[in-house]
């Protein structure tokens, strides 16, 4: 079973050389520090920067330089700042190749819910609806079950949707799964996790191939 860093490490293997990537808040943010050696990707943050770098030293903190999670950051050589309309032009226009984001629920149709619990949690969707409606490739990073132990991989989402039929791959603490033809497909097991564990934690329809390799992290 993976911890959050483990999930981020596995997500990092999804990066492709020479691409632009948008990382959501939470586990996805961790991916920025885990880019494999020799892999060159550029991070976009939708509040208006391409070429986002690591957190600043205390002396370099600048209130005017933050990421979409409102965290202070730095800019790498070759970075660019731009306004919000231009930023989402990049996203909507499919110039950002990969989006990694968290989710409350994912359905076997690839629907995602991650912005609202009716009557309770009201935070807003931020840029998530634009991101999931646009990027060529959407990977979800999340725990396989919620804090009540209920599966977050469902036949259909119960919460208000963020986007429909958009999630291509899910990386959880238990497994890597693909969404294809209206069902989940088990691709890899986390170290020490059995196919039965994954089946038990997955409420939606799950296709399990004869051979399910363990993740190599």
């Amino acid at each position: 079973m993976l911890d959050k860093i483990g999930i981020a490490k596995r997500i990092a293997q999804e990066l492709e050389n020479g691409t632009y990537v948008n990382l959501g808040i939470g586990i996805p943010t961790l991916v920025a520090n885990l880019v494999p050696e020799g892999m060159n990707v550029e991070f976009q943050s939708e509040n208006g920067i391409l070429g986002m770098g690591p957190f600043p030293t205390d002396a370099d903190v600048d209130a005017d330089l933050i990421n979409a999670g409102k965290q202070t950051i730095t800019a790498l050589p070759g970075a660019v700042y731009f306004d919000s309309a231009a930023s989402f032009a990049m996203i909507r226009g499919r110039h950002v190749q990969l989006t990694v984001l968290g989710a409350m629920e994912v359905s076997q149709q690839g629907d995602i819910a991650n912005w609202k619990i009716p009557g309770r949690l009201v935070k807003g969707m931020g840029g998530a609806m634009d991101l999931v409606a646009s990027a060529e490739n959407i990977v979800v990073a999340m725990m396989h079950t919620n804090k009540h132990g209920e599966s977050k991989l469902l036949s259909s989402c119960s919460l208000p949707l963020t986007g429909v039929a958009c999630v291509k791959r899910i990386v959880t603490n238990l497994a890597v799964l693909d969404v294809k033809d209206g069902v989940f497909h088990l691709v890899e097991r986390a170290p020490g996790v059995s196919v039965q564990d994954i089946q038990a934690a997955t409420a939606g329809d799950l296709v399990v191939p004869a051979e399910v390799p363990e993740m190599q992290i």
């Binding site: 943050s45 939708e46 509040n47 208006g48 920067i49 690591p54 957190f55 600043p56 030293t57 205390d58 903190v61 600048d62 209130a63 005017d64 330089l65 933050i66 990421n67 979409a68 999670g69 409102k70 965290q71 202070t72 950051i73 800019a75 700042y81 731009f82 306004d83 919000s84 309309a85 930023s87 989402f88 032009a89 996203i91 909507r92 629907d111 009557g119 309770r120 009201v122 935070k123 807003g124 969707m125 931020g126 840029g127 998530a128 609806m129 634009d130 409606a133 646009s134 208000p160 949707l161 963020t162 986007g163 429909v164 039929a165």
Partner: protein
């Protein structure tokens, strides 16, 4: 000769913002928000405002100041997760809230300034955002029709500006400011440094002065940081 848009101070800049008006405010989180003008709105007590802003500030800064005093009747935003008072007022029904995908919010403001009354976007299709909106397929992909946003006043914050209203923003403090600057019937710009015309490079202006009706140099910017994240000391040696 370049037109002169300067006003004496924040009071003069905010003159005419009345009860019930719609006001757009630039900024993302607490970054690049028009601090001085928000303070002035709190001072005048103007109420029943509809505010269009990506976020709603925090409890004691930014638009949170106007929420605390119940000056905002309706909030149009994309993300409001940092403000407990906001959530309380929204869930209790005291505050009317319209949540909009961030990219659609930015594009709707740009459209408002650009004379584009409506456009199609894929964002929000199949979600509650799409309810009541026209759906049309382009290249086999469903899109929804979104309309332009404008405001009685747009208030933006820039780093430098000249007397003609030309603006330059710093780093990611740019965010929603340029799009909103175009969409106000009257646009107010507060700047950290106001310079004479001719000092800014004409090739490096982010907001042309044509969009700005009033400009003034603000004072005492707090520039509060919402999430101060720093690299551990051991990382510093990595360069």
């Amino acid at each position: 000769m370049a037109l002169d848009k300067t006003v004496r101070d924040v009071q003069a800049a905010c003159r005419g913002i009345e009860d019930g008006m719609t006001v757009m405010l630039g900024g993302f989180g607490l970054c690049g928000i028009p601090e001085c003008s928000i303070g002035e709105l709190a001072r005048t007590g103007v109420k029943d405002l509809t505010c269009i802003s990506n976020n709603a500030g925090v409890d004691d800064f930014g638009l949170g100041l106007l929420l605390k005093t119940r000056q905002i009747k309706k909030m149009i935003a994309s993300y409001v997760g940092e403000n407990d008072e906001f959530e309380r007022q929204m869930l209790s029904g005291e505050l009317d809230v319209d949540l909009i995908p961030q990219g659609s919010l930015a594009e709707r403001c740009r459209a408002g300034g650009a004379g584009i009354p409506a456009f199609f976007t894929p964002a929000g299709y199949g979600t509650e955002i799409a309810e009541g909106k026209e759906v049309r397929e382009f290249d086999g992909k469903p899109h929804i029709l979104e309309s332009a946003l404008t405001a009685d006043f747009a208030i933006v914050k820039a780093w430098k500006g000249d007397t003609a209203g030309n603006l330059i923003y710093k780093a990611t403090a740019r965010n929603f400011n340029p799009a909103m600057a175009t969409a106000g019937r009257i646009t107010i710009a507060e700047v950290e440094e106001l310079v004479p015309v001719g000092e800014l490079d004409p090739g490096q202006i982010h907001t042309p002065g044509i969009f700005v009706q009033r400009i003034f140099q603000g004072a005492q910017y707090e520039r509060r940081i919402e999430q101060r994240t720093v690299a551990p000391a051991s990382n510093e040696s990595k360069g």
